[in-house]
Symmetry: C2
Subunit: 230 residues, 2 copies
């Protein structure tokens, strides 16, 4: 199966790229620049494509991002510290982001005559992001089957949709993903901050998986107090 | 109902804008520049927004259009003359175009706190474009309801999805749409060519509706021979 992987440069999608490269025919990585505060993670996506020897396609969504306001990822709203709790992380939602990215990726896949688009949505995202939930994924596939009827057949491959992030760490390790060459932190400093929602979630996932976390964190131990308090 | 109308500047979507302005609360027109060979029609969309006194938002998709190749609307493939027959018009399909445009429009509508996105897909497009068919429209709504669950409620309004283009002419006339201020021709010359699929379809729609066609065509009578031969 010729598969195009949506890759942000984060732990989940780089692990997915390595999994697809090992198990299917990886035809490329596609990333979206929708006006994130920092573009650091996109460099890690490009490095993954180089490492896996496939084309890297960066879709410039910055113009469109201007119209999708109200999110801490693109606006001047403070990114909250702490755990991925609903109240604090709702501000990181970009309206309809996954639907937009997936629809574009399906168009690119159809143009490339690929068979599948892979995306690293996972179980831990469900309660906060509706467009990461299994019922969204299922509905998206039905919509695409009808949109491309007679022209192309592209399947949405989301092997992590029912599992927690710790299972992605396990699967990524199995496929020799160089985790230190992935980026999660929302703050985009020199090191992972260790305090934002994604850093806490990343640190906790390695702990739950029982796999050593090679990441350099500015604050390596903050996550414990958050997890203990939650 | 606060409604955002997707408007290309063509007869169908400008008629829809006038219908929505008369019957609902029109909050803006949104157009997509995905690297069409000519941008003439977009100027007619902007003129419609000025006339209806609402914001005009032009989404620059040219960068993304580069990745969606294989279509006569964006590539160096000849646009065919004649009727909208399946064989000749398949080359005008941009892979996943409607899914991409609608997903972006839903994101913009959510950000604007609008209640609906209106699109001018119509019955005559069904047999050639799968992403204009009622079952696609229904599936798209289900997908969006799940994608935006808890954040926004946006409905897809497609009042022309079951009717032929002639009914759009009738409805447009009822709402005083200035048809001469709309553009259909795929070729983008000074005048409508009168020979391409959209020109033939436009001319025929006015004839079937029994409404005088104010359009200047380079070849005003070509359509008859095509319709008689079909």
């Amino acid at each position: 199966m010729k598969t195009l992987v949506i890759c942000s440069g984060g732990l989940d999608s780089v692990s997915l790229a390595h999994k697809v490269a090992a198990e299917q025919e990886l035809v490329g990585l596609i990333s979206f620049d929708y006006g994130q505060r920092h573009k650091k993670e996109l460099r890690f996506a490009e490095r993954a494509a180089d490492r896996l020897e496939v084309p890297f396609e960066l879709i410039d969504m910055r113009h469109i991002g201007q119209f999708l306001s109200g999110s801490a990822l693109t606006d001047d709203v403070d990114v909250p510290d702490g755990h991925y709790a609903e109240d604090s992380m709702k501000v990181t939602v970009v309206p309809n982001r996954n639907a937009i990215m997936l629809a574009i990726a399906f168009g690119v896949a159809a143009a490339k005559q690929a068979d599948a688009v892979a995306a690293a949505v996972h179980g831990g995202d469900h309660f906060i992001y509706p467009d990461c939930r299994p019922d969204f994924i299922d509905a998206f596939q039905v919509m695409q089957d009808r949109a491309l009827d007679g022209y192309a057949s592209v399947k949405l491959y989301t092997p992590f949709v029912h599992v927690p992030k710790s299972a992605i760490v396990t699967e990524g390790a199995r496929h020799h993903t160089p985790f230190a060459d992935t980026w999660s932190c929302y703050k985009g400093g020199d090191l992972h901050c260790g305090r934002c929602g994604t850093c806490v979630e990343r640190r906790e996932a390695f702990d739950l998986a029982g796999i050593s976390d090679p990441t350099d964190y500015a604050d390596r131990d903050y996550w414990k107090s958050v997890v203990e308090a939650s």
